[in-house]
């Protein structure tokens, strides 16, 4: 006779997981559609939607708050294992729905509520583990609160985006700082990272009132962060492993290159160069989505309880993302149709990645059979 089988509490959460998946998914699809329409790409057909104008306006909010904010909120809620922590991603997902298809003011304030809840969740993490990286995560959450407040107050992108990206960049940097503890402790690592991130926040704070100075400082901080990650990150070691660890390292290192480019482009935009698309999308797609692609095979099984079969095929959508960014940002700087084509390929790369993940989940089920899949839940 075997020991009593533990019934996983996760099984009761299937409807909740489907709801959160739908919220993040709708935000992502609407966000991508809005982005494509902005560049004049008529796929999907903008005339077939009642809310086209509305979706188009809130492309950035849907991507940052609706998709990434919801995904990061779920990730953190799973880590702290408290039911109330899921209020944050629920609010950001609902907020995104309102932004795209409902009263936009309500959507913006729901996003504020989401960020405030998310900050509280991060305060709990700090209380559990008082460390440099948990404090940075909390500061990143605070940056999201500020960005969402400015957005709800009707401020434009030049004031809001630096705070939104500070939230994403600090969240990623904090997690990378945590990983550097595995490498030989170099006292300079933590101090320099804090200095760079302080610079980033200073740049964000100045961007509303003094866009030129703020943008220069912000861009410099992004470029310096890329240099910091290139020097100190553990990916430099793990890229010599194999399998999923190497894949994650490749995603990270590729992302750091785009982060450096984004920093230069951000500063150039502040000086009046036409590099805004490069600044926003080298950062949002090249850096952030590359991180998402890198972490998804590890984080998805944890938050969605879906097992994935990892294989070299994961490199294909990653390569598609990076190549499509080259088309958009390098070739696209010479012609608008090329930029639009690059953006369409960006969206296709993200869809390709989603299909890859779905395929990897099916492959795992085929490999392990339905019984294994049931146990995994």
């Amino acid at each position: 006779m075997g020991r009593p089988t533990k019934t996983s509490p996760a099984r009761r959460w299937i409807p909740a997981r489907a709801l959160f998946g739908a919220l993040a998914g709708v935000s992502l699809v609407a966000g991508m559609a809005g982005g494509l329409w902005r560049l004049g790409v008529a796929v999907p057909d903008p005339h077939s939607f009642t809310w086209t104008g509305q979706v188009l306006l809130v492309h950035a909010a849907l991507m940052v708050c609706g998709f990434l904010g919801t995904v990061i909120g779920i990730e953190r809620a799973v880590a702290v294992k408290h039911r109330w922590a899921f209020v944050a991603p629920l609010a950001s997902g609902a907020g995104a729905l309102c932004l795209a298809f409902g009263p936009q003011a309500a959507g913006a304030w729901l996003c504020v509520a989401a960020a405030v809840f998310f900050l509280a969740v991060n305060a709990l993490v700090v209380w559990r583990q008082r460390a440099a990286h948990t404090l940075l995560l909390a500061v990143g959450a605070a940056a999201w609160v500020v960005g969402n407040l400015l957005f709800a107050a009707g401020r434009d992108g030049s004031a809001v985006f630096p705070w939104w990206f500070a939230f994403l960049v600090m969240t990623i940097a904090a997690e990378r700082l945590e990983m550097t503890r595995l490498m030989r402790r170099r006292p300079a690592a933590s101090v320099t990272l804090h200095a760079v991130l302080a610079l980033l926040l200073a740049g964000a704070a100045c961007s509303g009132a003094a866009p030129r100075a703020g943008g220069l400082v912000y861009g410099a901080a992004l470029a310096l962060l890329a240099a910091w990650l290139a020097v100190f990150d553990v990916a430099r070691r793990t890229v010599f492993t194999r399998g999923i660890s190497r894949y994650m390292a490749v995603c990270l290192l590729g992302g750091y290159a785009w982060l450096g480019i984004a920093g230069v482009a951000w500063a150039a935009t502040a000086l009046g160069w036409p590099a805004r698309d490069a600044a926003l999308h080298a950062l949002g797609l090249g850096f952030v989505i590359s991180m998402v692609m890198g972490h998804a095979p590890v984080v998805l099984p944890a938050i969605a309880r879906i097992k994935l079969r990892f294989g070299a095929f994961f490199y294909l959508p990653l390569a598609a993302l990076h190549l499509s960014l080259v088309v958009r940002l390098a070739l696209g700087s010479f012609s608008d149709p090329l930029r639009a084509a690059g953006a369409s390929l960006n969206a296709a790369a993200i869809v390709f990645f989603a299909v890859t993940v779905a395929g990897a989940a099916v492959a795992w089920r085929i490999q392990h059979g339905a019984e294994g899949a049931r146990k995994a839940r």
């Binding site: 006779m1 075997g2 020991r3 009593p4 533990k6 996983s8 996760a10 990730e75 953190r76 799973v78 880590a79 702290v80 294992k81 991060n122 993490v125 559990r128 583990q129 460390a131 990286h133 948990t134 995560l137 904090a174 997690e175 945590e178 990983m179 503890r181 595995l182 490498m183 030989r184 402790r185 553990v234 070691r237 793990t238 010599f240 492993t241 194999r242 399998g243 999923i244 660890s245 994650m248 095979p297 590890v298 984080v299 099984p301 944890a302 938050i303």
Partner: protein, 118 residues
């Protein structure tokens, strides 16, 4: 693969209190639980704080490097699944997550440190 091969046996890397014949299989089971991001198992990273086996239960205390990590539960589930393969069926299995004392890099095995460039 450049996986960090340890010089000391895995069983020597954490306090163990229980029947001697289970020491090596339990250590081997825990060594099969790998943190996917860094390609290192939880014993080499120094996440296993202790294993105690009595007449009723196998009790494993493990920590994590970050309280913000969503993979915590997955690693704990995997530890439980691996222990399930070697722990006699009449014993309960309890994998407990602890935060004290906080993990520090000194806990890593010499092989893991070498791999990370120490």
């Amino acid at each position: 693969m450049n996986s960090p091969a340890d010089t000391a046996p895995a069983a020597a890397r954490f306090p163990y209190d229980g029947p001697e014949h289970l020491r090596a299989p339990l250590a081997a089971a825990l060594s099969r639980v790998v943190d996917p991001e860094i390609s290192m198992n939880i014993v080499d990273v120094g996440l296993v704080y202790g294993v105690m086996v009595d007449a009723a239960m196998a009790h494993v205390r493990i920590t994590m490097t970050s309280a913000a990590c969503p993979v915590i539960e997955l690693i704990m589930d995997e530890a439980e699944a691996e222990l399930d393969k070697v722990v006699p069926p009449e014993l309960q299995i309890r994998v407990e997550l602890v935060w004290e004392p906080p993990w520090s890099p000194e806990r890593m095995s010499p092989g893991a440190k070498r791999f990370m460039g120490w």
